[in-house]
């Protein structure tokens, strides 16, 4: 039974999730995943599978989010919270370097040490794997790499989860980024709850994943269960009412800088920047200095930034993007047009977070058809 390979499918019982967790702990990983804190769904350190939001579901719509109890005991019966996994690889606040004054009047610059345990990410959805792949292109594949991201991305264990239900905000199916996972994981789970059984169909995605599974009591998968898993994921795709058509991007946006829809959305947008902060692919940041009281030591920090502020485009003599609409336009045009030129991929994976956490429910799946001149469906 221990000769597992990539692509193999086996079955675990729900109770075996705890054993899987223990094995990862023994191997030196720190487990992180979805958990409920202060009534919200966050990603944090998990003390065990009991910390997962078992028996809860999420109801995410444009401008609203809530957790609600389920009728079953599913471990992964919700979709996405506000936070994405990018915070573990690309932290919101990071001390980058320290500066020390030398006695001879010189300076010494030193990169801050970035100590962290390798992570086991538990419960990563398809759109989030797609988002990590997008951030890889940004932080690893350009002329300059982010060494902190590279280091954190080098050693980890990913337990992905196929979505068997979709939230109202999801539109991954239209972008081909979900709801089923295809690559970039060590193990992928499909949670199946029948009258009698609570099971996980497990797909092995790497040799690291195979080695871990070999230590777990598992059964080979049977065809009926496989079929059931495929049907659930297909159903999750079919149930999505939102969609983003990308055929005419990026030209549509480059050719429409002066489209009246920008005035319309610009009048609604509060420029709060939530959409960029919750987006799993947004990568903009700024640098700030902190100094100690004697002024002998300085630290340079990297902080997430959003293109919705005036300061973002500040240059001496005046900001570039003064009007609120120009800042929203920058965000959306970057995500759906410039990103393709810059990184060969869309900056959107269809997770829906930007519309869920927008205080005024601005929805890019409605804005794009409006620019295209189509009627907004729904």
């Amino acid at each position: 039974m221990s000769n597992l390979h990539m692509g193999d499918e086996v079955v675990l019982t729900a109770a075996d999730l705890a054993t899987l967790y223990d094995i990862l702990m023994q191997q030196g990983f720190q487990a992180v995943g979805p958990t409920i804190q202060d009534g919200g769904l966050v990603l944090d350190v998990l003390g065990g599978p009991a910390d997962l939001p078992q028996g809860w579901t999420s109801e995410a719509e444009a401008g609203s989010f809530r957790l609600a109890p389920r009728t079953d005991a599913a471990f992964f019966g919700y979709n996405l919270g506000m936070e994405s996994w990018k915070k573990f690889f690309y932290p919101p606040r990071l001390a980058l370097l320290q500066v020390q004054s030398r006695d001879d009047g010189g300076l010494h610059f030193q990169a801050c040490s970035q100590e962290a345990l390798p992570l086991a990410l538990i419960g990563v959805r398809a759109c989030e794997l797609a988002a990590l792949a997008v951030q890889d292109r940004i932080f690893l594949e350009g002329p300059y790499q982010d060494p902190v991201y590279a280091e954190r991305r080098r050693a980890h264990f990913i337990i992905a989860v196929n979505c068997t239900e979709a939230d109202a905000a999801c539109f991954c199916a239209s972008l081909g980024t979900g709801p089923g996972v295809t690559a970039g994981f060590d193990l992928a789970l499909t949670e199946i709850i029948n009258d009698r059984e609570h099971l996980f169909l497990v797909t092995v995605g790497s040799s690291q994943g195979a080695a871990v599974m070999a230590n777990l009591p598992h059964r080979p998968a049977w065809e009926e269960l496989r079929q059931q898993a495929r049907d659930l994921v297909r159903q999750a795709a079919r149930s999505q009412s939102r969609a983003l058509s990308t055929a005419d991007l990026p030209r549509l946006l480059y050719d429409n800088y002066s489209h009246p829809q920008w005035d319309d959305v610009g009048a609604r947008c509060l420029n709060c920047g939530n959409c960029a902060l919750v987006c799993p692919t947004c990568f903009c940041h700024r640098l700030e200095d902190a100094i100690d009281l004697e002024g002998r030591e300085a630290e340079r920090w990297r902080l997430w930034d959003v293109c919705h502020t005036l300061q973002f485009s500040y240059i001496h003599g005046g900001c570039i993007r003064v009007s609120p609409k120009s800042r929203y336009r920058q965000w959306l045009t970057h995500k759906l047009a410039a990103w393709i030129d810059q990184f060969g991929t869309l900056g959107c994976v269809g997770c829906g977070r930007c519309l869920v956490w927008c205080p005024v429910a601005i929805d890019l799946t409605a804005e794009i058809p409006a620019i295209r001149g189509q009627q907004v469906k729904m």
Binding site: L107, G142, C284, I315
Partner: protein, 289 residues
């Protein structure tokens, strides 16, 4: 993958951290104008060479305050001294103005796409600059003069606000004295003692000697000046792909990662700051992009 190799033990390779500045010592501070100065720098430790291409910039760091993008204004053929010419306008540049010989600051670079000195070989070279725009183009002038036989006519058109605002005046006089180079200078306004021209640079473009289809034009200065210069160059028949402009955006990283310097599909820090006009033209005239 062996998870036992924790990140703590792996240790980040310091020399590969693109955000880590190198300490440079001021060799000389030279006052240029009321608000403009030149710092001549050499590394605090390590080899003195700082090779760069004309048009590239560095991020200059005053610890505790921040980093600013500043073009290199020195001679690429003499990379032992790193030269920056800076106008004190705000927080960091005013602090840099106080640096004297012996003081140490941080330098990251060189970054950015250079002026097309290779593409311009065997062609006429027209340099159109306004104000401080002369600083990032001075390395081009040094390069072209060092390889003078590689280029056709070389014409420099330089405009400043007033005679008091003319940068690198001594060098301008020297260049003006050469037979293989023509320098046209104009100011917006001047007193009766000024013997040069008065008016905007665009008026002088038509007076320069160049063969438009065989000319590479390099334009750097305030936004309005660049727009009108490009218009005039195109009117005279210089091809859009042979006109180069330098763009400006807020820059936090200089290496294509912070997102601040975006202009349409471009990162000004790594795709620019120098762009050929045919590449940048869809965004050149747009506001708030």
């Amino acid at each position: 993958m062996a998870p036992e190799t924790t990140l703590a033990s792996s240790g980040l390779s310091v020399c590969h951290h693109p955000m880590l500045p190198r300490p440079f010592r001021v060799v000389r501070h030279r006052r240029e104008l009321r608000d403009t100065f030149t710092l001549i720098l050499e590394p605090q430790d390590g080899p003195p060479e700082f090779p760069f291409l004309p048009g590239q910039f560095n991020m200059l760091y005053h610890p505790g305050a921040g980093e600013v993008p500043i073009s290199i204004s020195g001679d690429p053929g003499r990379p032992r001294h790193l030269v920056h010419t800076i106008r004190a306008v705000g927080n960091v540049t005013r602090l840099l103005q106080r640096y004297q010989a012996g003081d140490v600051l941080g330098v990251r670079g060189p970054f950015g796409a250079p002026w097309p000195v290779a593409e311009a070989v065997d062609r006429d070279v027209l340099i159109v600059v306004g104000g401080l725009g002369l600083a990032p183009l001075r390395p081009v002038i040094y390069h072209v003069l060092r390889h003078r036989q590689d280029y056709g006519n070389v014409e420099i058109i330089y405009g400043a606000r007033s005679p008091r605002d003319l940068l690198f005046r001594r060098e301008l006089e020297q260049w003006r004295g050469r037979f293989d180079l023509r320098v046209h200078v104009t100011v917006d306004s001047a007193g009766p003692e000024w013997r040069g021209g008065v008016g905007v640079v665009t008026n002088l473009i038509g007076r320069a000697r160049f063969d438009p289809p065989q000319t590479t034009a390099l334009v750097c200065g305030p936004g309005v000046m660049m727009r009108f210069s490009v218009q005039e160059l195109r009117r005279l028949g210089v091809q859009p792909r042979d006109i180069y402009v330098s763009m400006e955006r807020n820059m936090q990283c200089g290496i294509g990662l912070c997102g601040h310097c975006q202009l349409g599909p471009f990162f000004v820090c790594k795709d620019g700051p120098v762009f050929s006009f045919d590449r940048i033209s869809p965004w050149f005239e747009l506001r708030e992009v």
